[in-house]
């Protein structure tokens, strides 16, 4: 690393900026995607007016929300009330820093397709996810509104409950890899394409299943969106929020969806690797070689997002006791069983 620190820093800042902007853009268009898809599922069009196929809709929405009146209701506890959406959004955006979305390619000592290649990437993800709960919990509490409070309590209880299962489901992956570094995790899935993905070759389909469900709960998405069950709690924890603060919760939710998709891709679906492994011959120049993995990565995340929306359009909402019971009674023991099975399997395979 014989590059000057300043160039390194400059490039990194640039990288961060690009990634963040891209992420925000994808958040905006995920919203559009959802509206469109749900519209189709429900046999209607979704947004069509702004721009071609309604493609400018997200921008219009953003602009509108920016210009809306920013209310600061009388009974709120101001510092936390203001801080809550910031926490929520930041946490959604920070996780991206450890996700590798392409091969390791250095330009002037800067890793192009990953912001920070730390050896505890998985732990960072878990940690940041945990902090995200604060945004929800604080927003509800500081709002001084019964709906908000109930919503946030439900949401946080749900999030922390499913975080357990989520965390435990990752242990299987770590067992197979022996590292927390996300690149290592991807590398081990690279050899035989689809067959060596953790979800198949690593025999982690149970873990993937647990992760999938937990991820839905973590992001407070249908069928686990009880925290914002319109019929009983208005809008849940962000009832009292308006204007951009509301938008930030919104962005956080979709940001989290994307992040969960990324993590799932990295952990279970082989990351940026091609599903065909070595079956396809390498072709194209270095630029293509560099960008192709990113393509695979994006495709996989997109599939995941599609799944999200599909589920939302299809499934009804859980009852709260069912939700908690499912998490604690079913997923938690299941994930422990998965760990035991995986470790046993690994022990015998190693011999």
């Amino acid at each position: 690393m014989q590059v000057s620190i300043w160039i390194y820093l400059l490039l990194t800042v640039l990288k961060v900026a690009v990634v963040t902007v891209l992420l925000l853009m994808s958040v905006a268009y995920t919203v559009l995607l959802e509206r469109k898809l749900v519209g189709r599922i429900q046999n209607r069009w979704g947004p069509t007016r702004v721009g071609p196929f309604g493609l400018m809709q997200p921008l219009a929405d953003g602009l509108k929300l920016f210009l809306k009146e920013d209310l600061l209701p009388a009974g709120v506890y101001r510092p936390l009330y203001i801080l809550a959406p910031v926490i929520a959004l930041s946490c959604a955006l920070i996780t991206i820093s450890v996700i590798p979305f392409g091969r390791q390619i250095y330009v002037k000592g800067v890793d192009l397709f990953q912001i920070a290649d730390v050896n505890i990437g998985l732990l960072v993800i878990l940690g940041i996810t945990s902090i995200g709960v604060y945004g929800v919990a604080l927003s509800g509490w500081s709002s001084n509104n019964k709906y908000s409070l109930l919503g946030s309590l439900r949401a946080s209880a749900q999030m922390i409950s499913y975080e357990l299962a989520l965390g435990l489901s990752l242990v299987g992956v770590v067992l197979r890899t022996g590292s927390f570094r996300l690149r290592d995790i991807v590398d081990i899935q690279a050899s035989h394409g689809l067959l060596s993905w953790n979800v198949i070759g690593g025999l982690q389909f149970v873990a993937f299943f647990i992760y999938l469900i937990s991820a839905f709960a973590e992001t407070n998405r249908t069928p686990f969106d009880l925290s914002e069950a319109e019929s009983e709690l208005t809008a849940g924890y962000h009832t009292e929020y308006s204007s951009m603060k509301f938008a930030m919760f919104f962005m956080a939710e979709y940001g989290n969806m994307i992040m969960v998709g990324c993590v799932a891709t990295v952990l279970f679906l082989g990351g940026w690797t091609s599903p065909f492994g070595n079956l396809l011959p390498e072709w194209g120049g270095p630029v293509v070689q560099a960008l192709l993995p990113v393509f695979w990565f994006v495709i996989k995340v997109f599939c995941f997002l599609f799944l999200y929306v599909w589920v939302r359009g299809t499934l009804p909402r859980f009852r709260y006791d069912q939700l908690m019971g499912f998490g604690w009674r079913f997923l938690l023991p299941l994930s422990i069983a998965n760990i035991i099975a995986t470790s046993l399997w690994l022990a015998f395979r190693a011999a």
Binding site: L149, E163, T234, E240
Partner: protein, 135 residues
Amino acid sequence: MRSANYFWNYVPMLLQILAACGLGLGMVTASWFLGRHRNTKVKLEAYECGIPVEGDARGRFSVRFYMVAMLFILFDVEAVFMLPWAVIYRDLPRISGSRLFGFWEMLVYLGFVLVGFFYISKKGILDWSSDKGDL
């Protein structure tokens, strides 16, 4: 040098954190200054679907939420123990000289975790729909 490298790995992450927080704060500030403010008393009241506001929201709520919090703390930390074990699991046979050493150790550990799990389950803490677990 190794450790220097190690620290530099985190610098981009720090930048990302700064960016994220800055973005969040920036958005909050910007919208505060951009939007108009025409406050009325009713507008600033808590929103309860238009019905006049009743009392304060900071009352008492079901103890189950506390229970979940406590259980989470415990089980989460128990899960934390599994992570380093998982990392080193594949090397354990080499280190300990016994193929199933790591497995048995974790089985004992998980056994105790499950004992706790079984206990709270039987005590009805996980039953949200009944009031049996109202401790």
